[in-house]
């Protein structure tokens, strides 16, 4: 065992301190790069797209001429598809979360179902598109319709709703349930009158997050067979459709600069929609936290 001298120790300590500062700088740099990329991305898209945004852009159909192209069909298609997806994932997600949390928390089936849900969340989205193509479009004869697209995205975002609802339901204090049981309420009465109202903001936050994921999805709908050129608005659940991300993808892959500008303008619209939805989710969450805290 050797004893290090005083000067040796001081030299080493200075080096360790210097390395510590360098490491701190490296960590800061990493965060700065990540935030910087986000800033560059947003500024670049804004510059590219802002000139393309106009009233006629929002209210025109797709066109072969870039300066006449608009996103009317894409926006309406997105809204319809996402509404179907939202309702599908809400109903199935809340029902599943209630079953797993309130009815079968410790059963073997519940354990399998929970592992399954974790894995579903990791399945590539394009695989859901193929599932939708075979089940909804072909087997159920829905065609490449709004309904088929909405169901496909509904299944895709289902794990998000299940996990968020499960957390919200678990956060409801047991004392509330016990009080209701004590008054003679049945299990469903407890859930309907006590658990769901308490958990609702959390559930709604989950649904908003799920819908904002669904609204940006492109690949599964392409795999399912959504159109890329739609000069009409979908007029029924069985009508064919396109969505905003597919329209953006289509314009991006064209060589003409005019279409690329239209794509950037479409991206701005998409990001604004996402921003509004996420802001809604944040406001809801804060309200929820304040309520349960006080």
């Amino acid at each position: 065992m050797s004893v290090i001298s005083q000067s040796d120790f001081q030299r080493k300590r200075a080096r360790r301190k210097w390395m510590g500062r360098a490491f701190y700088g490296l960590c800061l740099l990493s965060v700065a790069i990540a935030l910087g990329m986000l800033a560059v991305l947003l500024v670049y898209l804004f510059i590219q797209g802002i000139t393309g945004i106009s009233w006629s852009f929002l209210t025109s159909f797709a066109s072969r001429h870039p300066d006449q192209a608009g996103i009317k069909a894409a926006i309406l298609g997105s809204i319809y598809v996402v509404m179907v997806a939202g309702v599908t994932s809400f109903v199935l997600g809340v029902a599943t979360a209630l079953y797993l949390e309130e009815y079968a928390a410790r059963s073997k089936f519940a354990r399998i179902a929970k592992i399954n849900i974790a894995n579903l969340a990791g399945v590539p989205s394009i695989v859901y598109g193929i599932l939708g193509l075979q089940i909804f479009v072909h087997s159920m004869h829905l065609g490449k319709s709004v309904l088929a697209g909405g169901f496909t995205l509904g299944l895709l975002v289902l794990p998000i709703v299940i996990v968020a609802s499960g957390e919200a339901v678990r956060a409801v204090p047991p004392s509330l349930r016990e009080a209701a049981y004590g008054l003679g309420a049945t299990r469903w009465q407890v859930i309907w009158h006590m658990v769901i109202p308490q958990a609702f903001p959390g559930i709604l936050t989950g649904v908003i997050l799920a819908v904002s994921r669904a609204i940006g999805e492109t690949a599964p709908l392409i795999a399912m067979g959504a159109l890329t050129f739609v000069p009409f608005t979908p007029d029924s659940p069985l009508s064919r459709f396109t969505v905003l991300p597919i329209q953006i993808f289509n314009w991006t892959s064209r060589p003409q600069e005019g279409f690329q500008e239209a794509a950037a303008a479409g991206i701005i619209v998409l990001l604004v929609i996402l921003l509004v939805m996420n802001a809604g989710a944040v406001i809801l969450r804060n309200k929820f936290q304040n309520k349960s805290g006080g």
């Binding site: 390395m19 965060v31 986000l38 029902a95 399945v123 993808f249 996402l274």
Partner: protein, 310 residues
């Protein structure tokens, strides 16, 4: 029915109780059915993929599929070597991780160990915005912003290339690495850090020799999940990396990933039942199996190797 000021007559009470019980049972059954449906999705995915893939493998041997390096199902002389697509997927996923892992891990160390609470509360959600941006937007950014910059640096780089797509994909999955790693690091108890500080460690030493090793299972699992996400990512590589299945590790030339191939066939008009159509099921099956194995591995790492501190 006689009026009863106190309560319902006995007969009606029993009927109500029976009705309530029937409702309870029906609701429990409905909720169970919904849960069962979520399990059915996985079964449905496997069944749908297997069904068409089996007929595909009746025409093309599994060995040829898994060992061939030329993928030309859309040409007249068809070859079905999926390794050309696997190479594209591997190349983009690995390079994306080269970007996402160091940046994500260092960001996580910063947020967990260095950042004051106020800064963390602001920076973390902003970082997570990166994960919420639709992938088609990243695709646009890669093709029209990053690629031109790369091409101005080196003339060898094609318009469609794996490098640009990978860099942008790395940025996209960075918040996933940083968020999950940070959660794991923050779960490391203070006492461990304080013990190391008491022995005279610097913050660097505490972070890299105590906190990171203690949180390693969470970090590794985050890393595996991020790789799985990169493998399944579709739009960035479809838009920016090209549609040329090439068995290469050269990041400067056009390639094609498994996911981009599925999009390519879906966009065309391969008739149902044709061999071109069936290829997407074989490719999707392979993709599904790879990502499933990685997701299970990630869960296994957390449950098997987690350090428990009480």
């Amino acid at each position: 029915m006689a009026k009863n000021p106190v309560g319902p007559p006995l007969g009606q009470g029993a009927r109500n109780a029976w009705k309530r019980m029937a409702t309870e049972r029906a609701i429990a059954a409905l909720l169970f059915l919904s849960t069962f449906l979520s399990v059915l999705i996985t079964i449905g995915i496997v069944a749908v993929l297997l069904f068409e893939a089996i007929t595909f493998f009746a025409d093309v041997s599994v060995f040829e599929f898994l060992s061939g390096t030329r993928w030309t199902p859309l040409f007249s002389s068809k070859q079905f070597g999926v390794l050309a697509l696997v190479a594209g997927t591997t190349l983009t996923a690995v390079m994306a991780m080269v970007v996402a892992l160091p940046l994500g891990l260092l960001s996580a160390v910063y947020l967990s160990e260095y950042a004051p609470n106020g800064v963390r509360k602001v920076v973390k959600p902003i970082l997570e915005v990166l994960a919420g941006i639709p992938t088609v937007v990243y695709g646009y950014f890669a093709l029209l912003f990053v690629t031109p910059i790369l091409r101005s640096i080196s003339g060898d780089i094609s318009v469609f290339n794996a490098l640009s797509a990978s860099i942008v994909m790395g940025i996209m999955i960075l918040p996933m690495v940083s968020s999950l790693s940070e959660d794991a690091m923050r779960a490391v108890p203070r006492t461990l850090r304080e013990g190391a500080y008491a022995l005279g460690s610097t913050k660097l030493e505490v972070s890299t020799l105590v906190v990171v090793p203690a949180a390693l299972s969470g970090i590794v699992s985050a890393f595996i999940l991020a790789v799985s996400r990169a493998i399944g990512e579709t739009m960035i590589v479809t838009i920016a990396a090209g549609q040329n299945p090439t068995f290469t590790l050269n990041p400067f030339v056009p390639i094609e990933t498994m996911t981009a191939y599925i999009v390519q066939v879906s966009q065309g008009d391969a008739p149902a039942g044709s061999i071109e159509f069936k290829t997407i099921f074989a490719v999707a099956l392979l993709l599904f199996v790879i990502t499933l194995v990685m997701n299970l591995l990630s869960q296994f790492v957390v449950s098997r190797f987690r350090e428990e501190y009480e």
